[in-house]
Subunit: 458 residues, 2 copies
């Protein structure tokens, strides 16, 4: 039976015993799927069903729930009952949940935790969520430098690392200073009497606890790591960040980027569409759009100051939107390309001139193509329009499409330059993406348009 | 010395012996950094420096180069000299390089490869690059179901998996049918006489060789896997896809999405900004922008048909761009939110009505906010404008901002609905994102604007 079939079946049950009857089948499933199935139950049935699993399994299953659901469960059972679940959650998720509890709730659970878990939770919850410390796990294995491989393997075995990531085993000295790591693979393949330093990697990537989590994800990616060690300022090993966290960070960053590109207030966490209220969606979206509407006043003032020109030559009003659209499209494209190239480290600010020169060459090709199309469009659309005394349609069409071509070049260069400028000033280049660019090039576009019109037509 | 310092130093050298002198320092670095440093050398020095490393290291270092650089190296040394490098490359990268060679080059290298490598390369290169088969590696370890843990560990050791990913060890039967997997951790911790089935995971995630690589990345992410097994139609194990490939796929998908959102021809591979020619950048960007310019003809026709209305009430022309911008912004936001929620599996098409209803409620709040701002803007900007006989500014401002509010609601619903429609028809929802939405809501916006104007003002 597939997971989604099980979920549908569970949704139809009217008696908790029907769910209990499915527990043996669930025990065989990967824990993420059990989490999906039980995540659909409400707090009246959930505790009763969870009890059918071992405390270890309960910890892992509850870890698969969204954190809001974990909080509901926390609030609906006694703290004594919740403690074994909490203890068996992976350390980083346990700390995340703890951070989201109220002060009273935090105090209520602490007495039921063993000293080592209590200290671990308080320590991990003290890091800001966007740092390496905020996402790291403390479920790692360590050995000492002066051991043989056989001794190291024995230590790993006896530490009984049920939740631990032991693909890499970290080598520390007596002061917990990180010396390097060995892989479980090398440890297993080495002859038992081999000294640990023989297989030690002592040039290795690591992160500081205060480092930005996106930097940490990039290191995991660059070095193809399963996990990266995290050290404090004294270079003592305090945690690890695993590859699955890296994927989550990259996904979150992806959503954040798209949101910035589309002018929304970006969230550090991926929000769930269905669970987010209408009001919160509104707040997330309205800030940018209304700011842009206010900035749009500048365009309004420019247009107004040419009101007379527009009344006397109405054809100018007709093609104003075409110019704005084209400028917005080409500017956004250039901004996207540059923001992406900066994020992937393909280009550096040092080469700003070479980049702008390249964009200029690209934009001249674009300007030629789009200018020609605009020229054809104007002739086609306005063929039967009455042109005021003293003008010819050919002349007007030439002027307007020339303005459009200049606008394409200028908006491409602005679109490429603005993200670099923002980065140079220490900001995130993605904020200078689509909606901001559109608003800026709207203004420059109008100036080019009316400037050209004044020069040629009046 | 940091890697970038080494790169700068190497760039300044005029004698190959200076680079040779740095080889001992490089040997200590992670291979990815050696790859970065040697990647800056051209083909006159590169072969000489590579020779200072073992064939295993050479294979890994060359694997870090971009594939174009690998091809240059391939072409600049004898095939006999290249063969040991090629043999020591990870299987999936070796196959990628092989796919990019010309038919003649492929034939030239084959005689220098051992039979097992030859078959492996030909087999892997036969899968399309966007499938699980196209990205999978054949460097995996297998054991038999009827072994004990001690026997399994011996087999893993004796297979000497220098390049192999052995965090998971796959269990197959005599016909290579995949039975499940065991983790190296469980294997190490188990007592030697434990039978393999005791620690066997027989409910597990896997991928078919023909499956889309994005689906494969999603599975690795969902189940937090270090690697996922790939089977053929007969359920025989043919390869694995590792977590670092998943990250690469997610990054590529990210770029692809942004490109679609910004109206560029999306590439399956992440293009390098600097290495891509001006002409190719142009082609990538011009297709969409010029198509949109052509579709813009429809807006042009609508505007033209209201030419008289615009001349008699010039204020309508002044606020046409404001309406278009606001519609484009709100429509793009809604499209982004829905495309993302669909991609992350947060919403399903089955709930299309609930989604549109939610968007409608959000858009009414947005419409109220943006309508009020527009109303204020018009009063502020046009306060001193002469209004034609029979109209009051208050009445005109009310009409225009009412049209804008209706446009906000309609473009939000279109922005949310169009991606779902495209998905329903089997397309990629992301193509119905920003530029396409802007063009569509431009058209509906003009119809709303002039419809409202005709109703109220004429």
């Amino acid at each position: 039976m597939e997971t989604h079939e099980m979920i549908e079946k569970v949704a139809g049950f009217e008696d908790i015993q029907d769910v209990v009857a499915m527990v043996p089948a669930m025990r065989k499933l990967p824990v993420v799927e059990v989490g999906e199935i039980l995540g659909t139950l409400d707090e009246t049935w959930l505790p009763g069903i969870l009890e059918k699993f071992t405390p270890e399994q309960q910890g892992l299953i509850v870890s698969e729930f969204p954190v809001e659901k974990q909080i509901v469960l926390f609030q609906s059972v006694s703290k004594k009952r919740f403690a074994p679940v909490f203890i068996n959650m992976p350390s980083e998720l346990r700390a995340d949940l703890f951070q989201k509890l109220t002060r009273q709730e935090q105090i209520a659970i602490l007495p039921f935790l063993p000293k080592v878990v209590r200290e671990d939770v308080i320590h991990l919850a003290s890091y800001p969520p966007e740092t390496a410390g905020g996402i790291m796990s403390t479920d790692f294995a360590t050995v000492q430098r002066d051991m043989t491989c056989a001794e190291a393997l024995d230590k790993v075995r006896s530490d009984n690392p049920s939740n631990k990531t032991i693909y890499y085993i970290y080598v520390v000295d007596d002061d917990q200073l990180l010396q390097g790591f060995i892989t479980l693979k090398d440890l297993v393949i080495a002859t038992p009497e081999t000294p640990v330093p023989t297989i030690l990697h002592d040039e290795f990537a690591f992160a500081y606890a205060g480092e930005d989590r996106e930097e940490v994800a990039k290191k995991i990616e660059k070095y193809d790591l399963v996990a990266i060690p995290v050290v404090n300022k004294q270079n003592q090993l305090v945690g690890i960040v695993t590859h699955d966290e890296a994927i989550e960070i990259i996904r979150a960053e992806h959503t954040e980027d798209l949101e910035k590109f589309m002018g929304m207030v970006p969230a550090k966490e991926v929000m769930n569409y269905e669970r987010t209220t209408v009001w919160r969606h509104f707040r997330k979206r309205v800030v940018w759009t209304s700011s842009l509407a206010v900035v749009g006043l500048i365009s309004g003032i420019i247009i107004h100051s040419y009101e007379e020109a527009l009344s006397s030559l109405i054809i100018l009003a007709l093609y104003m939107p075409m110019l704005a659209d084209t400028g917005g499209n080409t500017g956004s494209q250039a901004a996207t390309v540059i923001v992406r190239a900066l994020a992937l480290g393909q280009v550096s600010l040092k080469n700003w001139f070479a980049i702008l020169f390249k964009e200029a060459r690209i934009s001249i090709l674009m300007a030629a193509a789009l200018g020609l199309i605009a020229f054809g469009k104007i002739l086609f659309l306005s063929w039967e329009t009455d042109v005021p005394e003293g003008y010819t349609l050919l002349f007007l069409a030439t002027g307007i499409s020339l303005a459009l071509s200049i606008q394409v070049v200028s908006s491409t260069i602005i679109g490429a330059g603005l993200p670099m400028l923002v980065k140079r000033l220490g900001g995130d280049p993605a904020v200078a993406a689509s909606p901001a660019i559109t608003t800026v090039v709207d203004i420059t576009g109008l100036l080019i348009y009316f400037g050209m019109a004044t020069m040629l037509f009046f």
